[in-house]
Symmetry: C2
Subunit: 325 residues, 2 copies
């Protein structure tokens, strides 16, 4: 959410000569995305034609070895009509560069804004875009392991240990019980494929009620596709503190998704469990960050308990309540 | 250099309906300027015409009561051909708004990039733009006191006190001696007018070797115009650490300035003293920030000694060395 690497304008202008984009005429460091440095840059070619791009320098959270997977995935999805930002090739056909000592990429700019309080029509568009992405990803041959899977949650819970009880009394036991439940009930045999795995409203660029772009695929991986809908359901259908469920938003999201990617009976039956897993995943990553971020750091710590409240909700919910009859 | 106030997209879209700009289609928080929150926003009207603006929310360093002065000044300068960002009026003719509990303004977007290592041609363009701004400001009737004048430097030195010696042994005495010199030699009777007072490379948007815009007028005030050239000389003509003077850059800056705003003999004679004052001004504000910013804060502390080195340089320089024969 900050610009970690300051790129001098002279270096940026020189960097852009590798591409067929015209010359640099504007560059603004933008506060967005995971822990990368991002610039919104504008170029102008000899005919006066202007174009905008996102220039991303990868700092630490993104593993450079994963970048080709993300590049190939977005190429595949873009070629199939999904509104995702394509990585731009330079004159030699390279997409991955080095800039100021960091891996760096030039990426298509998409317009749209990230909404804070999604409406049902916006949730419906997002659900449809997610479903279309899942369908479009079917022919994609790349794979990437989800490190934040059930085994990963166990790891995180162990790392947090008794510190969880400093966040809320009894939280360590609650997490342990939930992991026991998920070990016993996590569904096997559901359709796997590419998932976004982090489709919060922050990562959807809306144009009015329509999706202008799905962005920030840096958690995308291979996992149960209905689990992606569960993550998105938790991210879109609640108040920020997790205390209030917005049923019309949740229903619209599901309706949009199933209009292009219907759920089979096994996916419907497992959906509350998938939602519990999704809630636990964000509870644990937030708890880990909470425990490991000093309270006076400039970084905003996101409240883990907002996901405990979602977990409580999902533990009491039925498939019918979440997905309709 | 960060976004302090997060404006929800819904509120921003609603805010923009006050203006004749079309609807919001993109908004990116940008890391730029003094301690304000800035967004680069894009709108699209019913005919598909797109426009970009800077949306600024004023946080604390800018006094709301000063905003009408800045607005009127940039209107005046813009109407006389200076490349400065105009404040945009809403449908009712208002430029100053409230958004998320902050004073807020919509401001013209100008393209260009801030260079890190200015070349002589870039310095010449900047000098010319500064001179043109001084000429254009002549008919402007608004005034604003420079709180960072000689009296203000005394105040800052007193507030820093003996802490200055923690930055460098002997610095407190050096500052005291310099203030004694400036009290005795600060020129009276030089032409006063509107000055930018902070024209660092950060605040000039370059398009190649040409100035695309002068920005960030939030220190602008009424003072000796040749002092503005002295500030700009110190900001442009040295390595960042102040240890190396770039004479070709300094000469080009002066040549550009005097091509549109010649210096009279009294200004030439006083120029080394004005440069010493400018160096002391930034030495003292940096020292004050250094002393009052915890070393582990996320804010970058700028080295006060980079301005002590400039001060040393100017104390030994003659008018001829700085301004040519």
């Amino acid at each position: 959410m900050a610009v970690y690497t300051q790129v001098p304008a002279e270096e940026m202008a020189h960097f852009l000569t590798r591409y067929d984009t015209g010359a640099l005429i504007s560059a603004k460091g933008i506060a967005e995305g995971v822990e990368n440095s991002n610039y919104l840059v504008e170029t102008q070619d000899e005919d006066g034609r202007r174009e905008r791009f996102i220039l991303t320098l990868y700092e630490k959270r993104v593993n450079e070895a994963d970048l080709p997977f993300f590049m190939d995935l977005l190429d595949h999805l873009g070629a199939r009509g999904c509104k995702v930002p394509r990585f731009i090739s330079d004159k030699q056909g390279n997409k991955l560069q080095q800039l100021c000592g960091r891996p760096a990429c030039l990426i298509e700019f998409l317009s749209g804004v990230s909404v804070t309080e999604p409406t049902p029509p916006q949730a419906a568009s997002t659900g449809r875009a997610l479903g279309e992405m899942h369908v479009a990803a079917r022919g994609f041959t790349g794979t990437r392991r989800n490190s934040l899977d059930l085994a990963g949650w166990h790891d995180l819970a162990n790392k947090c240990g008794a510190h969880l009880d400093q966040i809320a009394p009894g939280l360590a036991a609650r997490v342990r019980d939930e992991l026991t439940f998920l070990d016993a009930h996590w569904p096997a045999g559901l359709e796997q494929g590419i998932i976004h795995a982090d489709l919060f409203p922050d990562n959807v660029l809306m144009r009015g009620d329509e999706v202008g772009g799905l962005i920030d695929f840096y958690f995308s991986c291979t996992d149960i596709q209905a689990y992606d809908l569960a993550i998105t359901h938790g991210a879109w259908s609640f108040s920020a503190d997790g205390g209030t469920y917005h049923p019309a938003v949740g229903a619209a999201l599901v309706r949009g998704y199933t209009s292009v990617h219907p759920l089979v009976d096994a996916e419907r039956a497992a959906f509350p469990t998938l939602c519990r897993g999704a809630a636990l995943r964000f509870l644990l990553t937030r708890a880990y960050d909470w425990i490991n971020t000093p309270p006076d750091a400039m970084v905003t710590r996101k409240d883990p308990l907002a996901y405990l409240r979602r977990l409580d909700f999902y533990a009491a919910a039925t498939s019918e309540e979440l997905l309709g009859a």
